[in-house]
């Protein structure tokens, strides 16, 4: 099974992904972790906004939208089946 790392901004389909890490240490990364983007959490890409950015993700039962610049901080791999 392919478990290569990528960031969640590169997700193109609705496959379930698992967060490997959130890079950075500042307030921005902290906030991403506080809203639930933590290591080990499953996340799913849903759709892009009509103008291409931001994108909508499903995380722990909620819908969250992130800009590409934030989504690039979130490293993911494919969730174990």
């Amino acid at each position: 099974m392919d478990r290569t790392l990528a960031d969640v901004a590169d997700a193109r389909d609705g496959r379930l992904l698992e967060i490997a890490e959130v890079t950075g240490t500042g307030a921005a990364s902290r906030r991403l972790r506080e809203i639930g983007f933590c290591t080990g959490a499953p996340v799913r890409f849903l759709r892009r906004a009509p103008l291409g950015d931001p994108a909508m993700y499903e995380l722990r039962g909620a819908l969250l939208s992130l800009r590409r610049s934030e989504a690039q901080r979130i490293r993911v791999h494919r969730a174990a089946p």
Binding site: R30, E34, I35, P50, L51, P54, S65, R67, S69, E70
Partner: protein
């Protein structure tokens, strides 16, 4: 005193006192607060509705008095990054000159329970007694999810109540609970969670807690998925949105007109009645012209105001606000702002005051200030009467396409003009004096919810009352003052002339007329005559006063028979010269679109920015832009032969 309390817990020491309501944004805090206190604080289906603390007494029917509840802005954690979050955290820590609350109700959305529990752990770490209100139980059930509050309570130690806030289910239990915070004792598990230091640890703890309970996670919200597929589609979504908006503006002209005509008739009848029955004294004329016709000219727009707020409340309640921010975020990025700024801007369409308050959710101080400076461009409801009066008078009601007429489209155009002005000014500010790096953008999108008609009705009722109160206070006061300025100095009546001619003489020589003429050099390039200038000065107190002023002047000129609009455009039977050419009328519309004419807005800018510097700046640049825009419109429209 404290020693005494420790020895013998007296009645006073057992006073429940103040209980804070804490929770993630949009988890249903304000809905609970309203159900418990009987208040009607604003709730809505998007994160960041509440941006300030609000206190209210627990209703006595819950069997305890002396409990005060504090509704707080939503927070994701107790490490605040924006102004609204800071307010919530300060209340919990005993800020604002008040002691810390005696207990905290942590509101957790039952459909996303895993995301709500970490905040519970953080709240417990403050050392305050906590309990849990699980909201949205109805939605959890509808999506075939399940959790037993009793089991969760066993795990956490502290009371857990399942509620459906907007339908009052479980509220009695919660009401009984909040009067005894000293009975809320945390279990070892919760105390363990309170020791977690990182978000990861808190989420891990939340999973462990849920793992210990039998639980069925809810299925995805199918309606939300379907609607998003439609409304967030690049083509279908835009088409739906534009059609909706166009229908709305058209409705303001077509559907609201009968109700408005009815009110107009009522006001005219009343004024005529007063003139006919009371002796012809100055006081009678003040009543008829100054009060009834002046203020009445504003009141007749009540149906449109009601319609506007019904639509705004629906949009806020259904879940579209956050979607609008999601769609527009890219554009906001080009401007240099972010989606949340757009939510604040959208809130300003009702009134700039709450819109400016709503900027508290924006983490970046520069983005926040920029949004504050441009929010008054959003077409607030006070502009609506002026727009409607001028459009009805100067824009033909000819159909353009299907049910849409030039009038509806012009109104829509003015709303877009306000938005464009806000975005362009923001882009200039962000590139100039408020340049700064972008802070992270994240936005939670709530599920779509059908607002309850009773909630919308109550909201519209409140807004309608507010509009009438405004008419009965500030607009009335300005109208009365204006009446005196329009009727003084007195001069002996010339017996050669008719009553109406005499009144015109007084008007032409009045203090108001002199003041209006004094301003002629300023507004001559747009061809505004002194009467418009008087209205412009008076509308500095409140925009609607423009309408009241013109109504008064016309009543006094003895031309009230044919309707204000007809007279403005000069197409009436009397063959009177029009007050405005169409080019001037368009210029006036643009002036109102851009001008800063609202004292409350300036006051709230001062409060939110902590000084007079920014309100003064806003006043200056917006009015300068208004003049320029009006002049440019006049030149272009004249060239186009309007």
């Amino acid at each position: 005193m404290t020693a005494l309390v420790r020895l013998r817990p007296s009645e006073a020491a057992r006073r429940p006192g103040r209980i804070a309501i804490l929770g993630a944004p949009n988890s249903g805090k304000t809905t609970l607060f309203n159900a418990l206190t009987g208040h009607r604080a604003k709730a809505g289906n998007y994160p960041g509705v509440t941006v300030d603390r609000r206190e209210g007494d627990l209703q006595s029917r819950f069997g305890a008095d002396d409990v005060r509840l504090i509704d707080l802005p939503g927070v994701y954690s107790l490490q605040p990054q924006s102004e609204d979050e800071t307010v919530a955290v300060r209340v919990l820590e005993g800020g604002f000159g008040e002691p810390a609350p005696e207990g905290v109700v942590v509101v957790v959305d039952a459909t996303t329970i895993e995301r709500g529990l970490p905040l519970l752990a953080e709240a417990a770490a403050l050392g305050l007694p906590v309990c849990v209100a699980l909201t949205m139980i109805d939605e959890l059930k509808a999506r075939h999810g399940e959790i037993d509050p009793k089991e969760l309570q066993e795990e956490l130690g502290v009371p857990v109540v399942g509620v459906v806030g907007n339908r009052g289910l479980g509220i009695d239990d919660l009401g009984a609970l909040v009067s005894s915070p000293w009975d809320w004792t945390a279990s070892p598990s919760l105390l363990h969670g309170a020791e977690a230091r990182t978000p990861e640890d808190r989420f891990a703890w939340a999973r462990a807690v849920l793992g210990a309970c039998r639980r069925q996670a809810p299925e995805p919200n199918r309606w939300t998925r379907r609607l998003d597929r439609l409304l967030l589609h690049p083509i279908v979504g835009s088409a739906v949105f534009l059609t909706f908006v166009a229908f709305f503006f058209q409705a303001i002209f077509t559907w609201a007109t009968p109700a408005m005509d009815f009110l107009s008739g009522l006001m005219d009848g009343l004024a005529d009645q007063v003139l006919a029955t009371l002796p012809d004294t100055a006081l009678t004329r003040l009543m008829a012209d100054g009060v009834i016709r002046g203020v009445g000219a504003v009141i007749v727009f009540l149906p449109q105001i009601v319609l506007l707020f019904a639509v705004i409340l629906f949009l806020e309640g259904c879940g579209y606000m956050a979607r609008a921010a999601f769609v527009v975020d890219r554009v906001m990025g080009w401007v240099g702002l972010e989606g949340r700024c757009f939510i604040a801007l959208l809130s300003s369409y009702a009134c700039a005051v709450p819109g400016i308050m709503a900027t508290r959710t924006i983490p970046s101080p520069r983005d926040r200030l920029t949004t504050i400076l441009v929010a008054p461009f959003a077409t607030c409801s006070a502009r609506l009467p002026v727009y409607l009066l001028l459009i009805a008078a100067f824009i033909p009601a000819d159909p353009v396409l299907g049910p849409f007429t030039w009038q509806g489209l012009t109104l829509m155009g003015l709303y877009f003009l306000g938005t464009a002005a806000a975005l362009l000014s923001a882009a200039v500010f962000k590139r100039g004096l408020l340049r700064g790096a972008a802070l992270p953008f994240y936005l939670e999108l709530p599920p779509y919810r059908l607002p309850r008609p009773s909630d919308i009705a109550l909201g519209v009722w409140d807004r309608g009352k507010l509009f009438l109160r405004r008419a009965g206070t500030i607009i009335l006061a300005v109208s009365v003052v204006l009446w005196f300025l329009l009727n003084l100095p007195r001069r002996p009546a010339d017996p050669e002339l008719s009553v109406v001619e005499n009144q015109r003489m007084v008007l032409e020589g009045s203090y108001a007329a002199s003041a209006g003429r004094l301003l002629e050099p300023v507004f001559a390039p747009m061809d505004f005559d002194w009467r418009v200038n008087v209205g412009l000065v008076a509308s500095q107190a409140a925009r609607e006063v423009m309408v009241a002023t013109l109504a008064q002047i016309y009543a006094q000129e003895g031309q009230d028979e044919e309707g204000l609009g007809v007279l403005l455009a000069g197409s009436g039977e009397g063959g009177t010269a029009p007050l405005l050419s169409r080019a001037s009328a368009l210029a006036l519309l643009v002036y109102f679109a851009f001008a800063m004419q609202c004292m409350s807005t300036l006051a709230v800018i001062r409060r939110e920015t902590g000084g007079w510097r920014w309100p003064a700046f806003t006043f200056a640049y917006m009015n300068a832009l208004a003049w320029l825009g009006a002049w440019l419109t006049f030149v272009l429209a004249s060239a186009a032969g309007a």
